[in-house]
Every structure is written in C-alpha cells, then in structure tokens.
Amino acid sequence: NAGVTQTPKFRVLKTGQSMTLLCAQDMNHEYMYWYRQDPGMGLRLIHYSVGEGTTAKGEVPDGYNVSRLKKQNFLLGLESAAPSQTSVYFCASSYFTRNPGTETDTQYFGPGTRLTVL
C-alpha cells in the first residue's frame, strides 16, 4: 500500500495563476482532508470530505475549492493564487467516523506539497 500520496511535491506559482493539488489514498478511507501549514505553525484545516461527492469547509476555506469525484481522490484547487497561500499543504484520510463517544479515527497524512506563490 502506498498510503496517502500527493502530487506535486513542489510548485512555484506567480500571483493570479491557478493550479490543482492531487491527493490519492489506497486505504479505502471515507474521510479525506486538506490542511495547510505555515512556517513554525500548526496545521489548519482548509476543506474536508466525508465521502465521495461531498465536501465541507474547514477553518480556512477562502481562496480554495475542492472536489471528491472518486472515493480515493481529493483535489484542492487554487483559482487565483496569492502570496498569502504560500505554505505546505498536507492531505490526510481516515476511516468512516463511528458513533459519538468512540475514539476518533487515526488520520493518515501524505508527505506534503510545498507551494510558493511569488
């Protein structure tokens, strides 16, 4: 199993350009997430998905769009990149959430995509 993979690993964009980050998981997980991590900071949730065809906003969704057309893939799009979006982007996945009061499912993270917007 490859686990969670992310494409590309590095990217440099100019302000106003667009791009799509791809996340793929081969663990048959229902849940998938996109986070960003700025230097010296913790991770912040951008968007997440609880299943194929569904998406929801996280803590910092502005400037990003996502799609989950296939269960194994979760795409993060930047329509018009800004320097404030320079960050490392992590994708994660986890199993379907169980009933309240049970343990949260472990999130498995990808290696990250380092994005620089000039």
């Binding site: 997430y33 609880v50 992590f90 009061g101 343990e103 990250g112």
Partner: protein, 111 residues
C-alpha cells in the same frame, strides 16, 4: 472543538524521559485525546489516543486524570530521532472527525 494549550518547546537529553502536558479545559464528554508527532518536512503521524486513565503502547504512554482537563504524553528514554513537534488534539468522532492542531510542542533531544 475544544482548544488545547501545550508548551512551545522542551529540551531533553538522550535516555531521559520526556513528559509533555496539554491543557484542554473545555473538553467535551465525547472528545478523545490524541497525540501526533511531526518530523521536519513530513506529515504528522499518530502516536497515541485515550479517553481517560492511562494508555500505553510501544511508543509512548498517555496519562489522563479523572477530570480530563489535561493530559500528559510520556516518551520513555528518548533518542535523537525523537526530536520532533508533538501535537495534542481533542476531537469527537461525531464531529466529522475534524481535528484542530495547535502550535504543538517542539522537542529537541540533545546528545
């Protein structure tokens, strides 16, 4: 989601035990406490999770008092490879499994 507070950084030496305490005063009844480890240029990795009392696995121990307003991650006999950032999170399985990462604790293990 309950917020957490943990020390920004800690230094230790090889072979010592490292204890990181996390405060989560507003933890909800259904919340579990989870710790992740992150090495530079890598995504976080699950270490341990618990609800109350003590949990131990091959990597660490997690101590949770009865009021659950704090928890302590214990790393026994650390080595240089344990240098990383450690995140304490609380979350509810019913809340979409969303987790809020704080700033974490940067642990530096010295020779």
């Amino acid at each position: 989601l309950a917020k957490t507070t943990q020390p920004i950084s800690m230094d230790s030496y090889e072979g010592q035990e490292v204890n990181i305490t996390c405060s989560h005063n507003n933890i909800a009844t259904n919340d579990y406490i989870t710790w992740y480890q992150q090495f530079p240029s890598q995504g976080p990795r699950f270490i341990i999770q618990g609800y109350k009392t003590k949990v131990t696995n091959e990597v660490a121990s997690l101590f949770i008092p009865a009021d659950r307003k704090s928890s302590t991650l214990s790393l026994p006999r650390v080595s240089l490879s344990d240098t990383a950032v450690y995140y304490c999170l609380v979350g509810d399985a019913a809340a979409g499994n969303k987790l809020t990462f704080g700033g974490g604790t940067r642990v530096l293990v010295k020779p």
